[in-house]
Amino acid sequence: MAITEVASAKTAPTSAPHVVLGQKTAKKKRALGIGGYLLRIGLAVLFLFPILFMFVSSLKPDQQIFGDLSSIAAFLPIGNISMDNYSAVFDRVPAARFLVNSIGISTITVVAGILVNSLAAFALSRMRVRGKTVILTLIIATLIVPFETLALPLVWWVNQLPSFELTELGFMFSKGWIDTYQVQIIPFVANAFSIYLFHQYFESIPKELDEAARMDGAGWFRIYRQVVMPLSGPAIATVAILTFLPAWNSYLWPLMVVQTEELRPVMVGVQYFFQLNVSWGEVMAYSTLITLPVVALFIAFQRSFVNSIASSGVKG
């Protein structure tokens, strides 16, 4: 007992600071944790409020939207709430048609983009290509040229391309892709950033796997299809999202090359509401409608998207 007491007495003075220090560290950690959460909540609110405002305003008449602007009521579904703006949207704009167009254009661009860009990246990563570093550098260098600079020359170029048309008289060739679906898809299939992203990801896949596959008699395309691509889920998801977003948000290009209303995508539809007297409630309703597919896509691919951005970011 005495020995224990002595031992306790001996250890007590030395252990007390440890306990205090441990408590302090725990407190500090907790404080940092709470601070971190508060910061995250703050950021979430910051990013969520515009979307909340958009949705809530889509349920209100114009005068109330502006009347509520100076108070918290702007973010609350109170007052004269109805779905009138949503039904008005479909009177003003062929919204269903625009949505179908955009879904089609974006989906084909994404699928074709994944195929073409991954094949290009695979060739640059795996095959023996002379000067492939230079080629990759040149591809990446194209990223610094903004699309606005290329838009007009591209209009000229697509207008020179031959086009097929099935008419009553049979197959006809005509000049120019203006006012077609393909002009909204094909120029955006090949993408330098997607090639870079795939290339970086493919570099992280051990080349021994290719060699093993080659030993089993696999050719390049089989290695691409059955070895590399099945291991590239996060890269595919990221490229899918990064291709989908600009395709969905495309505005300037369709404005320049699409003349027929039936071929227009959703973003051009936003401008339908900006007449001399703007219908703000309808703008918000339309914006809500065209935001939903993007949000759904992000939620579906969120984990892969974050993983791939994190991994390619570390490597890049």
Partner: protein, 431 residues
Amino acid sequence: MRHAKKRLIVASVLATSLVAALTGCASGTAGGSDGKNGELTVWTHNGGNVEELAAVQAIVDGYNKSQDKTTVKLQAFPQASYNDSVIAAAASGKLPCIVDIDGPNVPNWAWAKYLTPLDLSVDLDENLPSTLGIWNDETYSVGYYDVALAMFARKSVLAENGIRQATIDQPWTQAEFGDALEKLKATGTWTNPLDIGTGDVGEWYPYAFSPLLQSFGGDLIERDEYQSAEGVLNGPEALEWAEWMQSLATDGYIATKSGADSALDFQNNVTAIQYGGSWAAANNAAALGDDLAVMPSVDLGEGTKIGGGSWQWGVTTGCADTEAAMDYLSYSLSPENIAAVAVATATIPATDAAAALVPGFEEGGNLAVFREFSAQSAVLRPETPAYPFIATEFTKATQDIINGGDPQKTLDAAVTAIDANIKSNGGYTQK
């Protein structure tokens, strides 16, 4: 490996031949201008503008029923992006036979050879001058309507603050207007009692603010030869205008960037006076009823001035059947058609005959005041191909001035830029 190489070479040759063959075929069948095969297309800026689009569609349907030689198709674009679509189509040789054009852009489009002079079977002498697009003594476009600028206020607010309601015969003077704003500001009810639409940076700036400049005696450019802005956009009168505009902001009478919708802010009593377009009248009247006062713009020394020229119709140079296009336009300009569009859009009918058919615009009608504003005070924006550039420079300069920029330096910079642009385009004389 050798096989693979051979296959690659064969595939490349085949692909190249196919593309060459297709291009060859394509060059044989040229893109084709509109108006062939008895079909012609009309482009309008009314995408999303349900009422006006329906009225124009009714005219098209009426024309198609009235004869069987030509079928007219209507293609609508949203207004905000309409000009970009037309310019892109012109660049790729895909313009339709008939386009509608915002009035001040007509000289530029005529100069760029998008438009051909009109040769119509109707007499255009009866039209409001601001509904015709004239350049180099040729008429390139004609509109169904015009719009006007006005001051909107609550009669009750004016009466409570001892402010006289302005009339066409007796608009507010600069001093009277300043006094009214001071009284309204002093009540403390409104942070900025006046809304002149500073948040709207499109064509609104030159449309709404250049008439104020002209009312001071300045202008956007000299109007004899349209070759320089020197002395008119940076002379003493223009400087007076710039200082006055700046004082509206520094005195707190206007917001340097107004809300997204001036009419709704006015209806919600966020502002006491709205300087706005006639298109806001119907909604303002619906919200305020008899309490709404519609007044002419302020006289800043050289009389009241408002902008003139709205959307008009023109025929393109590439049209394969200009005769049919002119025939359609002539048909569309009947008083009944003009009246139908004016009813749908609550705009000022282009002719007296049409005005007589539009409720409110007949003599003594409640909307006739806008037609009077337009007839008495409308000043066309400069009829020069340089206008789009002038408009951009004027917008930038006005924004800078409202936000505290040095008035003289800002105006001088705008003049330098405008003159340089005109010079670099060879004076915008016909190509």
